[in-house]
């Protein structure tokens, strides 16, 4: 019989215990590497949350994780494991960059919205092809989206190196966009209020991410389209029974998923670096899978998990910087441990908690 935990324990206590466990194991790893775990933890926490600038960077990274986490979650509600968010975000960067590079004679109020549309559109297009192949040809979405990641790497390197590279320079990147096409920075606005973060890359894409969280919640749990997507994901045969075309909704879900992946391009390309760089997605698409899993594919969970990963990312960068004896690879190990304990082993402590707090699932009359 299923034993149920009280809601607060399921959603609050269990994840916290998992993170504590991850930190304890991390401490052992650091000890084994001859480092002081307490000092390291202190550097990570203060590096992620210790100052206005630290918080701004954490939020900047968390914005990427919100977009990729939502992208994975929407596809997942349709029963699709979209491994290709990384490539979709990458191609979305092309769309955003093309607008910012070639339409910059238009005013900023026109270019920036166009860049948003282009990023979402390119991402959606890159996701829709595997979706179409799954719906019409039965090609498995996991395989095709992985292949589309590799295709996006090759395509983007080719385009940047051969066509979009700034003239007369060696680094494989485009020229810096004209300032009026940049996503507005938030650092200056926020300064008078909470966090003084001049010069941080935090930009308006974060506001778009917050809007996206709410919009995805409405879409998945309140709209007719979201209902249809969830039916297809939960039981394709029930969808056919209900007159919901599974193939059509697979394509729609992938379009939405790819469009959300495009948010990374807004944050990184239009808001952060103001140019298109090779590999700007830096693995956020893959982290998005962990974010969605830990966040249980619910926007609130995605938000919390994205904040955790944003903090890990920023704190880890500080750690590698402040304690050079801790190599960047060790930082990745620490981040991996958190993913392992909160994601893959997320239910490990559940039986023990059930024994302590458990109440039995309500009995169902036969």
């Amino acid at each position: 019989m299923n034993a149920a935990l009280p809601r607060w324990a399921e959603l609050g206590l269990l994840p916290v215990l998992n993170i504590v466990l991850a930190l304890l194991v991390s401490a052992l790893v650091l000890l084994a590497a001859g480092q002081d775990p307490v000092a390291a933890l202190h550097v990570m926490i203060s590096g992620a949350l210790g100052s206005g600038e630290a918080v701004a960077y954490t939020l900047y990274y968390a914005t990427d994780m919100v977009f990729t986490g939502l992208a994975v979650a929407v596809a997942f509600h349709c029963g699709l494991f979209n491994i290709g968010v990384e490539g979709q975000a990458y191609v979305a960067g092309l769309g955003a960059a093309l607008v910012c590079l070639f339409l910059d004679r238009l005013p900023g109020l026109v270019v920036v919205p166009l860049a948003i549309v282009a990023a979402a559109g390119f991402g959606a297009f890159w996701a829709a092809i595997p979706g179409w192949l799954q719906a019409k040809r039965g090609s498995h979405i996991v395989i095709t989206t992985i292949m589309f990641n590799f295709m996006s790497y090759a395509l983007m390197v080719y385009l940047i190196v051969n066509w979009l590279i700034a003239p007369g320079q060696g680094a494989p990147e485009t020229r810096t966009f004209a300032p009026h096409t940049w996503m507005p920075r938030l650092g200056d606005w926020l300064a008078p209020f909470v966090i003084a973060a001049p010069g941080s890359p935090l930009n308006a894409a974060t506001l778009i991410a917050i809007a996206a969280l709410f919009a995805v919640w409405l879409l998945i749990f309140r709209s007719g389209l979201g209902y249809a997507i969830r039916v297809v994901g939960a039981s394709p045969r029930a969808a056919v029974y209900a007159g919901i075309d599974p193939g059509r909704h697979v394509i729609i879900a992938m379009l939405i998923s790819g469009g959300l992946a495009g948010g990374v391009a807004l944050n990184e390309v239009v808001g952060g670096s103001h140019k298109l760089l090779i590999g700007f997605t830096a693995g956020y698409g893959f982290t998005g899978i962990a974010v969605a899993l830990i966040g249980r594919n619910h926007p609130v969970g995605v938000l919390l998990a994205a904040l955790l990963f944003g903090a890990l990312y920023q704190g880890g960068a500080e750690l590698a910087f402040d304690m050079p004896a801790i190599s960047p690879d060790l930082v990745v190990v620490l981040q991996g441990l958190v993913i392992l304990f909160t994601g893959a082993l997320g239910a490990m402590l559940r039986p023990a908690l059930v024994r302590v707090l458990g109440r039995r699932a309500p009995q169902v009359a036969a």
Partner: protein
């Protein structure tokens, strides 16, 4: 002589559910012992304990007078206990011989042992009057023969006590008769059998003694000769069943569902429905009888819009539905066709959805909406609660997961959803599969009330009793075609059985 099986004070809990309470059971050697009870009465748990799938919390098991511990099926086999499951545990692509020795190969190398096994198996089959080719591929055999292989396999492994779980569920009446003849032979040779079923007719026909379970308790033991089906039914459900259905003669009107020369492909593209024509008129129930797998499922799927036909015509009322460019379940629903699917958990509901989410399956476009055209789940849940009250779905909890309801309550929820929208035509597949006796009665009354309200109802069931009870006309399906059109009043069950088995001359439909 000690009894073959003795269960004393067997008690088993699953969390809050007390599946077996202090159960006592004595099965004498060389008898056929019936075990009956509604779904959830605890029969399966009890038999699983005897077979080593579960271990009892308390109580003891004696086999031939000796107290034994049975902690897995290997222990059970060592004590001569074998189970013949409802879903056969056979490998379709292996031969009868290979299946029989499976798990009893007696070593890593088969080669030299197979001839010895073959002669033993053939001798065994002959001694029980079974006619089986040891080299036939199991998947090619009819269902009745597959079941004999399953029994033979148990005997080959030295079974003295056979547990048969709903053995006739998949059989035609003739095959069931053959099975009972085989069981009688086994009994004559001293084997002991426990027959788990909910079909009282079979209990009356074949068993020596019968034990009745209800709510986890053993409520009665009877000599079969000294009891009646009515008494057993009463013991099973704990109250008296209203005797028979008050079924008035049908007053059919015009044809609301008209099907002509319909061809429907199966999953692998082969034609599974072959040129079927039928009419279902307002105010009548047309029953489709047949052994499972003869195209009934594909026929219903096509009429519900879930599977595209490859030829023929479908009309609902005055509207031509097929052939047409757009053909899916939404089109059929819009035309007034409601569908209670045979596979309710995978098709009729979404198992992990809350009941109120499942309650708008197929109708989410018409669900209660709030601002921005978004679904207003509070109102949907309130409507679902009202629906649950009207159709006696228990517990009336719209936010409970669909899969947490018992089979009968899931079925009532689906019926509620499908009937509530006032359909013109009602397609019903296996309406009472897995539903207990009290629930069956309520569902049957509901269907008859719909008929009397002028709906056209097409009923597919593998339970011939159910079709005989409800239908105003019976169409028999065999190998994708309709091979008989029978009036249920005074129908000869054996004749329908022969039609179902494809051995009678087909009648002109």
């Amino acid at each position: 002589m000690a009894a073959a099986v003795e269960l004393r004070g067997v008690d088993k809990r699953f969390g809050a559910i007390h599946a077996n309470r202090e159960v006592e059971l004595v099965v004498e050697r060389g008898t056929i012992h019936g075990l009956i009870g509604e779904n959830g009465a605890g029969k399966s748990t009890l038999m699983s304990i005897l077979h080593g799938f579960y271990t009892a919390d308390r109580g003891e098991i004696r086999i031939g007078g000796e107290v034994v511990t049975i902690s897995d099926s290997r222990d059970a086999i060592r004590h001569g206990i074998e189970m013949v499951h409802q879903q056969f545990m056979l490998v379709d692509t292996l031969t009868v011989l290979e299946n029989a020795v499976l798990g009893a190969e007696g070593g890593a190398l088969l080669g030299r042992r197979l001839p010895a096994a073959r002669s033993r198996l053939v001798a065994l089959a002959r001694s029980y009057g079974m006619d089986l080719d040891p080299d036939a591929i199991v998947g090619d055999l009819p269902v009745g023969a597959q079941q004999r292989v399953e029994i033979l396999k148990a005997l080959y492994r030295g079974a003295e006590i056979l547990i048969l779980d709903e053995p006739t569920a998949m059989l035609t009446p003739q095959e069931a008769d053959d099975l009972f003849a085989l069981l009688a032979t086994l009994r004559a040779q001293g084997k002991t059998m426990i027959l788990v079923t909910h079909k009282l007719r079979e209990i009356m026909a074949i068993t020596d003694r019968v034990s009745v379970m209800r709510g986890g308790r053993m409520v009665a033991h009877r000599e079969t000769a000294a009891t009646t089906a009515a008494e057993l039914a009463e013991l099973m459900i704990g109250r008296r069943l209203a005797s028979g259905l008050a079924k008035s003669p049908a007053k059919p009107g015009r044809a609301l569902l008209a099907v002509r020369d319909l061809d429907v492909p199966g999953a692998n593209g082969a034609r599974r429905v072959k040129g079927v024509s039928l009419d279902v008129r307002a105010g009548e129930i047309v029953g489709i009888a047949g052994v499972a797998g003869n195209g009934q499922s594909e026929l219903i799927d096509a009429l519900a819009g879930m599977r595209r036909p490859s030829g023929g015509q479908i009309r609902v009322g005055d509207a031509a539905i097929w052939p047409a460019h757009r053909f899916d379940a939404a089109v059929l629903r819009a035309a007034g066709v409601a569908h209670v699917p045979e596979d309710r958990l995978r098709t009729g509901l979404v198992p992990r959805f809350a009941a109120c989410e499942s309650a708008i399956l197929g109708h989410h476009q018409a669900a209660e909406r709030g601002r921005l055209g978004l679904i207003d789940w509070h109102r949907v849940a309130a409507a679902t609660r009202a629906l649950m009250a009207a159709y006696d779905v228990r517990p009336p909890a719209p936010w409970l997961r669909s899969s947490s309801f018992s089979g009968g309550n899931q079925q009532r929820l689906i019926l509620a959803r499908e009937l509530e929208r006032d359909p013109v035509v009602l397609l019903v597949g296996q309406p009472t599969r897995g539903v207990d006796l009290g629930g069956i009665d309520a569902i049957h009354r509901r269907l008859l009330a719909m008929r009397d309200a002028g709906k056209a109802i097409l009923l597919v069931s593998v339970e011939l009793d159910e079709i005989l009870r409800l239908a105003d006309r019976i169409l028999v399906m065999f190998d994708g075609a309709i091979v008989g059109d029978v009036d249920p009043i005074g129908a000869d069950e054996r004749r329908i059985g022969s039609l179902m088995a494809g051995v009678a001359e087909p009648l002109a439909a």
